[in-house]
C-alpha cells in the first residue's frame, strides 16, 4: 500500500484537477443513521422492537405464531417478516390476527434499517405495541445490520450443532437473548445443552439463555416474562415523556 503512488505519477500542482479527499466514513454509517431513526420512532411510541435471528428452520415463525396467540390479549402486536421470496410467513402471522408486513429482500441476505423504516410507514403501529421483526434465516449477515431494535433475540434449535455459537460467533455476540428451541426433541438427540451454552457464553458473557419449545410451550412463560419486563420499560418511558409534555404545555 503506497498512498503516495496514486498521485505522485500524475499530479502536477496547478495543472490538474485531481485531489485526494479524506472522508473516514464508516461503511455501515448509513444503515446506522436509518437505525437511529427507527429507534427514535419506537421510543416516541413506547414500542418494544425485537429482532429475531437464526438459521433457516430453527422455528422462528412457529415461535412467533405461538407467542402472538399467547400475548395478544395483553399487547397490540405487529410483525415485520423478512424473506428472500414469498409471503408465506406473513400469512401465517396474519392468521393470528396480528398486523404483519412481508419484506422480500430479493437477492439480499438480511433486512437493513432502511427496509424496516419503509415497512414502518405502511404498518402504522399502535402506541405501546410489541414489534417482532423476523429477519431472513441466516446466522451471518443480519448480525452486522442494526435495525433500530431494542434487542436481538437469537434462536438456536436442538437439531442444529451445539457448537453453532462458536462457528457463527458474530450473531451470538450481537444478541442479548438466546432461545434454545425444540427442547421437546432433546430426549431423542445427543445435543449437549451445557456445551452449547458454554460456547455461547465464551463469545458473549452477557448472553441470557432460555430453553423453550414452541411446540409444547415449555419455557415460554419465562420468555414472556422477559418480553413483559422490557415492554414495561418502553411503555413507562413513553408515559413519562407524555407526563412531562403535559406539564410543559
Amino acid at each position: 500500500m503506497d498512498y503516495g503512488a496514486g498521485l505522485a505519477g500524475v499530479h502536477v500542482p496547478g495543472m490538474s484537477q485531481e485531489r485526494i479527499v479524506q472522508i473516514e466514513r464508516d461503511i455501515l454509517s448509513k444503515n446506522r443513521s436509518y437505525a437511529e431513526e427507527n429507534r427514535g420512532y419506537f421510543g416516541r411510541k413506547g414500542v418494544l422492537a425485537l429482532n429475531f435471528v437464526s438459521s433457516p428452520g430453527s422455528g422462528k415463525t412457529s415461535l412467533l405464531v405461538r407467542a402472538i396467540n399467547d400475548l395478544k390479549d395483553k399487547h397490540a402486536i405487529a410483525v415485520i417478516e423478512g424473506d428472500q421470496q414469498t409471503s408465506n410467513d406473513a400469512e401465517r402471522i396474519r392468521a393470528t390476527g396480528a398486523k404483519a408486513i412481508q419484506v422480500n429482500t430479493g437477492k439480499g441476505c438480511h433486512l437493513d434499517a432502511h427496509m424496516v423504516g419503509h415497512a414502518l410507514e405502511t404498518l402504522d403501529i399502535a402506541d405501546n405495541s410489541l414489534l417482532f421483526v423476523e429477519n431472513v434465516g441466516n446466522l451471518v449477515c443480519p448480525a452486522a445490520f442494526d435495525l433500530g431494535e431494542a434487542h436481538k433475540v437469537v434462536l438456536l434449535s436442538t437439531t442444529e450443532g451445539e457448537d453453532k455459537p462458536a462457528k457463527y460467533p458474530d450473531m451470538f455476540a450481537a444478541a442479548d437473548l438466546m432461545l434454545l428451541n425444540k427442547s421437546d426433541l432433546l430426549p431423542h438427540l445427543d445435543f449437549d445443552v451445557g456445551a452449547c451454552i458454554a460456547h455461547a457464553l465464551r463469545v458473549n458473557p452477557n448472553l441470557q439463555t432460555l430453553i423453550v419449545s414452541a411446540k409444547t410451550g415449555e419455557g415460554l412463560a419465562a420468555f414472556y416474562a422477559w418480553v413483559e419486563a422490557r415492554s414495561n420499560l418502553a411503555r413507562s418511558d413513553l408515559a413519562r415523556r407524555k407526563a412531562e409534555a403535559r406539564k410543559a404545555g
Binding site: 485531481e18 485531489r19 479524506q22 473516514e24 464508516d26 461503511i27 455501515l28 451471518v140 460467533p169 458474530d170
Partner: protein, 113 residues
C-alpha cells in the same frame, strides 16, 4: 458475508460526498477493512466493478488496506494479536480478550477530479 450491500453503501457514500464536496469523478477509493471484519476483499472487488457501473465511480481503482486484529487481554493486561474475532489470547490461552481493532469497515480516502 454481505459484500454486495456493503459495496452499495460505499457507492452511496461516494455519491453523497460527491454532491457535498463537488467532485464529479472518483478515480481511486481506499477502503480500510479489518482482518476480523468478516469481509472478503476479493468479493468486495468483484462487487465494486458491478455496483459502480453508471455512477461517478465507474472504472475507479479500489485499494483495500487490511488492518490486523488486536485485542486487550484482561488477564495479561496487555495488547495482543488476534487472528480470529472471538479467539483466545495467544500468550495465556484465555478468552478474556476485548477486540480493540481489526473490525474496521471504513472509506478512508478518495482520489477525485
Amino acid at each position: 458475508m454481505h459484500e454486495m450491500s456493503l459495496t452499495e453503501s460505499v457507492v452511496e457514500i461516494l455519491c453523497e460526498e460527491g454532491r457535498r464536496q463537488g467532485f464529479a469523478r472518483v478515480k481511486t477509493v481506499w477502503l480500510e477493512i479489518g482482518t476480523l471484519s468478516g469481509v472478503e476483499p476479493g468479493a468486495m472487488e468483484f462487487c465494486f466493478d458491478v455496483v459502480t457501473r453508471g455512477t461517478l465511480a465507474e472504472g475507479a481503482r479500489l485499494e483495500i488496506v487490511r488492518t490486523p486484529g488486536q485485542g486487550w487481554c484482561l488477564d495479561c493486561e496487555k495488547s495482543v494479536a488476534l487472528v480470529e474475532r472471538f479467539g483466545a489470547c495467544p500468550e495465556c490461552g484465555g478468552y478474556k480478550v476485548q477486540m480493540t481493532s481489526g473490525d474496521e469497515m471504513r472509506v478512508k480516502e478518495l482520489e477525485v477530479e
